[in-house]
Point group: C2
Chain length 415, copies 2
């Protein structure tokens, strides 16, 4: 089903008072978060789940800087017409075709501090919020790197120095840096196609809905973390496992005395002049989902990208030590990265951000169904993409999205 | 338990990472919304329930105008020391004592367009949001009066002209004005102490949580409304019954083509320069609770009061025809008001707002547990109160709150 045919406005989800019964999107998540319904749900998670606010505060937002309307029109036209070769089939595709091919809901490109390209589609508009999915991890990771840079969090310390409750779990032998770089050894499968994968137990623990009668499992993210079993060694290999991000979230909360949502508000959303509050889904004990619960505005994600690109400075104001962003840019050890992400082999994962391989000086946040913040230092470019692809894995869009981003970066570098 | 002892910060609800188990506030609502937990929950409903946004848009807020800091300090001191006689026991009480006696979380007084008094306590701060409870009805009612004043909604038309689905219910014989003034004849008891009261069936229908297995009742507010049985005649007597407000909400949605939340954003929150987004709880089909689901900032409720006082004008801008506010000020027929609200006998209820009796020219929004917007035309005063009283009925605070508001109004008129 194409992006055009599955557009939530075309599908008619939740239109009318009331909508026709078969157009109502409701619980359970196996329904509302399956394609094509997910194309509506990515913009409306708060209508389906309890959430907590990431407040922008009460002041006036600081608008992003834009190139002139004429210049933007010219840039958008030029970029739409850029062509590239897909990584898998080797076909030629235009940038504009790639937007639809990847079910893009929002695309923002900031170059040299000015917005040159901004498009909305599907469920999203400038004043809407979209699920950031695993880009949430990168917000959590940035907060952790800030605490590290400020000397409040020791990355070499054992996790148990901050959270002794996990002593008997797989995290009991890990360092803070192990969890921040996901080089822990956890028995945890995120294979959604395997009904026995631990991700389902995690989801059950995390659900804010009342637990089924007789439920004996962990309640909430943090009880889950305390019983994660070890598998393999710490510090040797990168394995992308979401509980690491929630472990970082717990550490961040302990060290800062604030929930990840409140700290993200205090250190990022308020001082960066955000246009919109963001929000995070919570578990049944009120803990925000540090590994995937954020929804935010497209432009505010652009502000986050600017903070990485400009090492903590936005609107002429320093929000955090440059070292925090520099740590993300330095990345992790590519030798530990493995081969699970074909398009990224040679890259690394550190501080819950992705460092891309090769000549690109790119730091990225990534989330399932096509979410990305793509910060290209050489091109002085921040690109943000919200999307609602049918499949979860970003391996499905890397072959078309990565070369498209590189094509824009190349165009901007050449100008 | 006093206001001081039950202060959520003193109780320690939801403090720590994680909080002690007995300090975690979670489902079900019979727990989280019972005193003293409700003193935390009134500021955190979105963490417990799915909600939809009432967007303030993306622009800069228009700050409220304040008297000078010195003048405000003087006014606050003077008002705190005002005394009055309670309506029930005839005791003398100071204004300041009344705040604690009524478990006040926020108090804002605007006089001649300027804030002269602003206090926060309990769970609330300037950038927090608080449950408006049945003041939500008044927002819904204002939207309806706006549509009436603009000629888009005929108050004399039968409800079924707009919502034919309710033809077989008690609403089938009612006019729009009947539901806007709650002079319908509905079999519906809101007596929370009666386990057979219809309010429980309403709550079950409205819950956004998955329905229990075998549940055969209505799903959501609007299915509930379609099966409300008649009791008594339409148009003769005021009976305060929440389904009327949800019926108005449905009518408003049909007429405007927008949900109550979206229309409140478009007609009120965006143009009035609100400082914060508000939000509304939703049922399992995404319908916002027009009868009680709003949470908002204290100052934004003050802006709403200013719109009533100044007949649709705020920040020098007309948001809606003066006739909409004038209709609320004109009130309903006091002969139909009855005796259920002892402190308000001789008053009326119209457009889902309260018109107070006697010499006061007062239009008010009221919500259980002590919520109030109190607009005094003669005193050129808007007073907003958020509170978390142990008991739901405002009959419990009228004896101390109404004379306290009159004392402030008298002071302001005399100056």
């Amino acid at each position: 089903m194409s992006a055009e045919a599955s557009d939530p406005r075309v599908m008619g989800w939740m239109q009318g008072f009331p909508p026709p019964k078969d157009k109502i999107i409701t619980q359970p998540d196996s329904v509302y978060f399956s394609f094509p319904r997910l194309r509506w749900s990515v913009c409306h998670l708060r209508q389906l789940l309890p959430t907590t606010e990431v407040s922008r505060g009460l002041g006036a937002p600081v608008p992003l800087t834009y190139v002139s309307a004429q210049e933007r029109e010219r840039e958008e036209k030029t970029i739409d017409a850029l062509t590239f070769t897909t990584l898998d089939t080797g076909k030629t595709m235009t940038w504009e075709q790639s937007l639809a091919a990847n079910y893009t809901d929002g695309m923002l490109i900031i170059h040299k501090g000015k917005v040159i390209y901004e498009r909305y589609s599907g469920c999203l508009g400038p004043d809407g919020k979209h699920a950031a999915m695993s880009m949430t991890k990168s917000v959590t990771g940035l907060l952790a790197e800030i605490l590290v840079a400020e000397g409040k969090l020791d990355p070499d310390a054992p996790v148990t120095r901050y959270v002794p409750e996990v002593a008997k779990s797989a995290f009991g032998t890990a360092t803070v840096r192990d969890v921040m770089n996901m080089t822990t050894g956890l028995r945890y499968s995120e294979d959604y196609t395997d009904p026995n994968a631990e991700v389902w137990k995690y989801a059950e623990a995390a659900s804010p809905l009342p637990k089924p009668a007789g439920y004996k499992g962990p309640n909430g993210y943090w009880e889950y973390l305390q019983q994660v079993k070890p598998e393999g060694k710490n510090g040797t290999e990168f394995h992308y496992k979401t509980p690491n991000a929630d472990m970082v979230g717990w550490i961040v909360a302990r060290v800062s005395g604030k929930s990840v949502a409140d700290l993200a508000s205090e250190r990022l959303w308020r001082p960066m002049g955000a246009e919109q509050d963001a929000y995070m889904t919570v578990d049944g004990t009120g803990v925000p989902f540090a590994g995937g619960g954020l929804s935010a505005g497209l432009r505010d994600m652009g502000r986050l990208g600017m903070l990485i690109l400009n090492e903590g400075v936005i609107n002429g104001k320093r929000l955090f030590p440059a070292a925090a962003a520099q740590a993300l840019r330095a990345g992790g050890d590519p030798k530990k990265f493995g081969t699970a992400y074909p398009a990224l082999i040679g890259g690394s994962y550190a501080g819950l951000w992705w460092m891309y391989p090769g000549e690109d000086k790119v730091v990225a946040a990534r989330g399932v169904h096509g979410q990305a913040i793509y910060v290209d230092f050489d091109a002085d470019m921040v690109l943000v993409r919200f999307a609602s692809m049918p499949g979860a894995s970003n391996g499905l869009n890397d072959p078309t999205s990565l070369p498209s981003y590189r094509a824009v970066a190349a165009y901007l570098k050449e100008r």
